[in-house]
């Protein structure tokens, strides 16, 4: 299943909305969008993942990339991830630096 990625700015937040499946085949699209988002200079990058039904470690790699690209004071939020996806994020320990939020 393909991945759809959209990028928008809401106030001081850059919003990336994902829908579909995030694996090694589709993650490059997410990666490119992160690169654009990092250049916006907002204080928060919010990644809306409610529409993501599956995420492999390639998605984790993108989240780590996001952390590396944004300035230290920028908050990265992952919003609405389904339980198996948030569990994968926790398994990698990324919940220590990324804010996981239900809404």
């Amino acid at each position: 299943m393909p991945l759809s990625v959209s990028l928008s700015i809401e106030g001081d937040t850059t919003v990336i909305e994902l829908a579909g499946e995030l694996d090694a085949n589709t993650a490059p699209d997410f990666h490119q969008t992160i690169e654009k988002a990092a250049g916006h200079g907002t204080s928060t990058v919010e990644i809306r993942m409610a529409g993501v039904g599956y995420m492999a470690s390639a998605g984790l790699r993108s989240l780590v990339f996001a952390q590396q690209k944004v300035a230290a004071h920028v908050t990265i939020k992952v919003v609405g991830a389904i339980e198996p996806v948030s569990r994968t994020i926790r398994t990698a320990g990324l919940d220590r630096s990324i804010v996981l939020s239900d809404e």
Binding site: Y54, S57, R61, S97
Partner: protein
């Protein structure tokens, strides 16, 4: 992670299904469909089916990117659905690679910018299944993954 009694065996049961795909990332979708069908036939719940897919996906991705290193190759996927149990065997002819030996737990004590993500996919795979077996036979890597219906294994 217990050893499977059919550790690395080629499945010969009549119920076994097979998929042969080129070792490219574009094959991941076909592999996912195949695994989903096996999970459904085995009566796995959504959580167990997700775990099986994640494990197979990570190992297949590893075969494509690190095994064949982008070169030509093929992956054979065998599936068998038993009552409350799904088993997938992945075979490839890339250089020898034992996922158990190549498993690197996440370095969660390091900040993200210093994090090494390589090996994490294998870690996810091995912690997602209930049984895992690997054998190198006749120049092929053969990994056997089994997931049981029911809650995630506690480790």
């Amino acid at each position: 992670m217990g050893a499977s009694p059919q550790h690395g065996a080629r499945l010969s049961d009549p119920a076994t299904t097979e998929l042969h795909v080129p070792a490219v990332l574009g094959s991941l979708t076909a592999i996912a469909h195949f695994v989903r069908a096996v999970a459904v036939a085995a009566g796995l719940d959504r959580g167990a089916a997700y775990r099986l897919r994640l494990a197979v996906d990570e190992l297949a991705t590893n075969i494509v990117t690190h095994g064949y290193r982008g070169g030509e190759g093929r992956i054979t996927v065998l599936g068998r659905a038993g009552a409350g149990r799904a088993r997938i065997v992945l075979e490839d002819a890339a250089p020898e690679f034992d996922p158990v030996a190549g498993c690197l737990p996440p370095a969660t004590d390091l900040p993200p910018e210093r994090r090494r993500i390589g090996g994490l996919g294998i870690h996810l795979a091995l912690t997602s299944v209930d049984e895992f077996g690997y054998v190198r036979r006749e120049g092929r890597n053969i990994s056997t993954l089994t997931v049981l219906a029911g809650p995630r294994p506690q480790r």
